[in-house]
C-alpha cells in the first residue's frame, strides 16, 4: 500500500505575509473553492502570524479574523478549515473561542521552537472542544534535534495529535531536515510533519527529505505563495509525491488549476527568491520579516543585507518585528559616527 501523506495548505495564511495581510474575502472565497475542488485535506486561513495577530507590530489585516474564517467556511465542504494560533498573540477567550464558533476544524498551536510550554492551555482548550489539534514548532533551525524532541514531547503531553516543525527562515538543507525528523519520529508516538520555506531553493527537496525520514504530514502553498522567498510549492509537491508513489488524495489536474487560479486571483506578483531572501535564509531570519525589512531599510537608506545579518546575529524570533526599526536606526547611527 502506498504511504499516505497528509497535506495542509496555508496559501491563505502564510501567503497573507506576501501581501502585507491584505487578502480580501473575495480572494479567500476564490481560492477556497479551488482547493476544495482539488481535494486539499486542510486549508489554513488567516493573518500571516495566525489568529489574533493583526497588529501594528506585524501588520494589520484588511479583513478581520471573523470575515476571513466565515468566508472560508462557506466555501469549504470537503476540505477542513485550519488555523494557526500563537499564544502571546491569540488568547483563548478573545480569539480561539470565537474561531471555534466560526467553524474551524483544525487548530495548529504554535510557539518558537524552544517555548512549547506556552501552548499548554491553548492545546488543552482545543482538545476539550473536540477539534483536531496539532503542535507547531517555529524557527526550528535555532534548536538542536535533541531540544526539539523535548519541546515536541511537551506538546504531545498537552494533547497535540501531531507535531509540525517549521523551517520559518528557509535556512535548512536536506540533511538538517533528515536529522531532525528522524529524531522526532523516534521520540514521539504521534505523527510528524514539515513546513518548508524556499529561501535557499530547498522547499521541495527539504519536504522530500522530511518524508523519507518518516514525516507523514507536509505543508505547501500554491505557487509557493508565502512569507519571504515563499513556501514549498504545493502543486509541485503533489506532482513529486505522486511520481514517488506516495498518496495524498489531492487531484493533480485540479491542484494545478487551483494554482493557476491563485496566481490570477490572489497574487500581485508570483513569488521568486529575491537576493535579499537568500541572505535572510543564510542569516536564519523569520521569513515574515521581509516586507518590514524592505520598507524600513529603504526609508532609512541602509543595505537590507546588513539588516538581515544583524537580526540573525541577535537571534531575533518571529513576533519581534519591532526590533527591525532598532537595528536599522543602529546601523544609521554607526554610519554617522
Amino acid at each position: 500500500m502506498k504511504q499516505h501523506i497528509l497535506i495542509s495548505d496555508p496559501t491563505l495564511r502564510d501567503g497573507n505575509h506576501a501581501v502585507s495581510h491584505q487578502l480580501s474575502a473575495k480572494q479567500v472565497a476564490a481560492y477556497c473553492e479551488a482547493a476544495n475542488n482539488a481535494g486539499v485535506p486542510i486549508v489554513e486561513v488567516g493573518h500571516g502570524n495566525g489568529l489574533g495577530a493583526s497588529s501594528l507590530q506585524v501588520g494589520e489585516s484588511l479583513e478581520s479574523d471573523e470575515v476571513l474564517l466565515t468566508t472560508a467556511r462557506k466555501h469549504l465542504s470537503k476540505s477542513k478549515l485550519g488555523i494557526h494560533v500563537i499564544p502571546g498573540f491569540a488568547t483563548i477567550q478573545r480569539d480561539l473561542r470565537m474561531a471555534i464558533e466560526w467553524g474551524v476544524d483544525v487548530i495548529r498551536v504554535a510557539s518558537h521552537c524552544t517555548e512549547a510550554d506556552i501552548t499548554q492551555r491553548h492545546i488543552g482548550y482545543s482538545r476539550e472542544k473536540g477539534k483536531e489539534t496539532y503542535g507547531v514548532l517555529m524557527m526550528t533551525h535555532m534548536a538542536s534535534p535533541e531540544l526539539l524532541v523535548e519541546e515536541a514531547q511537551k506538546m504531545e503531553l498537552y494533547g497535540a495529535e501531531g507535531i509540525i516543525i517549521m523551517d520559518s527562515a528557509g535556512a535548512y538543507l536536506p540533511s538538517d531536515v533528515s536529522g531532525r525528523i528522524t529524531a522526532l519520529v523516534d521520540g514521539l508516538a504521534i505523527p510528524v510533519g514539515f513546513h518548508g520555506h524556499n529561501n535557499l531553493g530547498m522547499g521541495i527537496a527539504n519536504s522530500i527529505a522530511a518524508i523519507e525520514a518518516g514525516a507523514t504530514m507536509l505543508d505547501g502553498t500554491a505557487r509557493g505563495f508565502g512569507a519571504g522567498a515563499g513556501n514549498a510549492q504545493l502543486e509541485v509537491l503533489i506532482a513529486v509525491l505522486e511520481k514517488m508513489g506516495y498518496s495524498t488524495g489531492v487531484n493533480l489536474y485540479k491542484i494545478l488549476d487551483a494554482a493557476d487560479i491563485a496566481e490570477r486571483e490572489i497574487m500581485p506578483t508570483v513569488p521568486v527568491i529575491k537576493s535579499e531572501s537568500v541572505v535572510s535564509g543564510l542569516a536564519g531570519v523569520f521569513s515574515g520579516f521581509s516586507k518590514h525589512v524592505n520598507r524600513i531599510s529603504k526609508e532609512y537608506n541602509v543595505d537590507q543585507r546588513d539588516v538581515y545579518f544583524e537580526l540573525g546575529r541577535r537571534k531575533v524570533v518571529a513576533g519581534q518585528e519591532d526590533l527591525i526599526i532598532e537595528v536599522v536606526l543602529d546601523i544609521v547611527k554607526r554610519r554617522e559616527k
Binding site: Q57, P87, Q93, T114, M142, K315, D322
Partner: protein
C-alpha cells in the same frame, strides 16, 4: 521613624526578589516571608538573610494578624482573590503582584497618590509597568488616540512556569491598563519570549495610531517620564525616542534589572517589583500620619 511591617506571601522569584529589595528600604521591614514549602530556594534565601519564614501560606497571617500592616501577594491570580477576602477583614493593605485585579491598577509614575487611597492596589503586569507610562503620555499629548499596541520581548529564562501558563491573563490585564491610562479606544498587548543566549534585556515597544501626531510634545514628555521612572526603576531607559513611521507612532524602552535575586536581564521582574516597593514605601510615609490611614478603620 519606625518602619512599616510587611509580609511577603509567595516565595517564588517575585517574592524573593521583593525580599531583597526590602532589605535596602528605609521605610519597610519584612517581618514574615511566607510560602508553602520550607525547602524552596526562596525560603533558603530568606533564612540566610535571617528573616522569619513560614510554610503555612495565608494561615501564617491569620494566626498572627498583628505581625504586619501590609502584605505583598506574589502568589497567583486565583489565590490572590481568596487571600484578599481574608486580608480585607484583617485590615491589611495588599499590594497585589498577580493579575487578580481586585484593587485598582497602579503605575507609580502616573497615579501613585490615587492608588494608595485604596486598601488593595494591583501592580498590573511587568509589560504594563514598562509600557503604560508611555501610553499614558500618548493620551496626554493627543486629544484623540484611536489605538495603542504594546509589544514586550523578554528573555525565556526570566519567564517562570506561572508566567507561561498565564499568558492570556497577562495580555488581558495589560490591555485593560493601557486603555484605562491612555484613554485609547482600542488596545492590544503582545508578548514574545526570546531564548537567545546571552539573555536579552526586557524590551518594550509602544505603537500608537493618532490623529495629528505631536512628536515634539511627546518626546519632551517621554524624556521627563523616563527620569521620573528612574527614581524607582534605575534600569529603565529610552531605546528609540518617539518617531512617526509608516502611519504610526513608535517608542521603544528597555528595562534592565538591578540583579538582586534574579539576573540583570530579568528587567521584566525587576520593574514590577520596583514599582511595588515604591507603592509600599508611599503607604509607609502615609502611615506616619495616622489620620491619613483612616480608610483602614473597619
Amino acid at each position: 521613624m519606625s518602619k512599616l511591617k510587611v509580609a511577603i506571601l509567595g516565595s517564588g522569584n517575585i517574592g524573593t526578589d521583593l525580599l531583597i529589595k526590602i532589605q535596602r528600604s528605609e521605610y519597610l521591614e519584612c517581618v514574615l516571608f511566607i510560602g508553602r514549602n520550607l525547602s524552596s530556594p526562596g525560603m533558603a534565601k530568606a533564612i540566610s538573610l535571617g528573616v522569619k519564614v513560614s510554610d503555612q501560606s495565608i494561615n501564617a497571617i491569620v494566626k498572627d494578624p498583628d505581625c504586619c500592616d501590609l502584605v505583598f501577594d506574589a502568589t497567583s491570580a486565583k489565590d490572590a482573590q481568596h487571600h484578599w477576602t481574608i486580608l480585607k477583614k484583617l485590615g491589611k493593605i495588599v499590594v497585589d503582584m498577580t493579575p487578580a485585579k481586585v484593587g485598582g491598577l497602579c503605575i507609580p509614575a502616573v497615579n501613585l497618590n490615587d492608588a494608595i487611597a485604596q486598601q488593595n492596589v494591583n501592580m498590573v503586569t511587568c509589560g504594563g509597568q514598562a509600557s503604560i507610562p508611555i501610553a499614558y503620555l500618548i493620551g496626554q499629548t493627543h486629544p484623540e488616540v484611536e489605538y495603542i499596541e504594546v509589544v514586550s520581548s523578554i528573555a525565556s529564562r526570566s519567564a517562570g512556569p506561572a508566567t507561561r501558563l498565564n499568558l492570556d491573563e497577562y495580555i488581558e490585564t495589560t490591555e485593560e491598563g493601557v486603555r484605562l491610562f491612555s484613554g485609547a479606544k482600542r488596545a492590544k498587548a503582545i508578548l514574545n519570549l526570546n531564548p537567545a543566549n546571552p539573555c536579552i534585556d526586557m524590551q518594550t515597544t509602544i505603537f500608537a495610531k493618532v490623529t495629528n501626531p505631536n512628536i515634539e510634545a511627546l518626546t519632551l514628555a517621554v524624556e521627563a517620564m523616563v527620569k521620573n521612572i528612574n527614581s524607582y526603576v534605575p534600569g529603565y531607559q529610552l531605546l528609540v525616542s518617539p518617531i512617526y513611521e509608516n502611519g504610526r507612532i513608535v517608542v521603544m524602552v528597555k528595562a534592565q534589572g538591578l540583579g538582586d535575586y534574579l539576573p540583570k536581564y530579568a528587567g521584566n521582574l525587576d520593574i514590577i517589583n520596583c514599582a511595588a516597593i515604591a507603592v509600599a514605601e508611599e503607604y509607609a510615609k502615609k502611615a506616619a500620619d495616622p489620620a491619613a490611614m483612616n480608610f483602614l478603620a473597619n
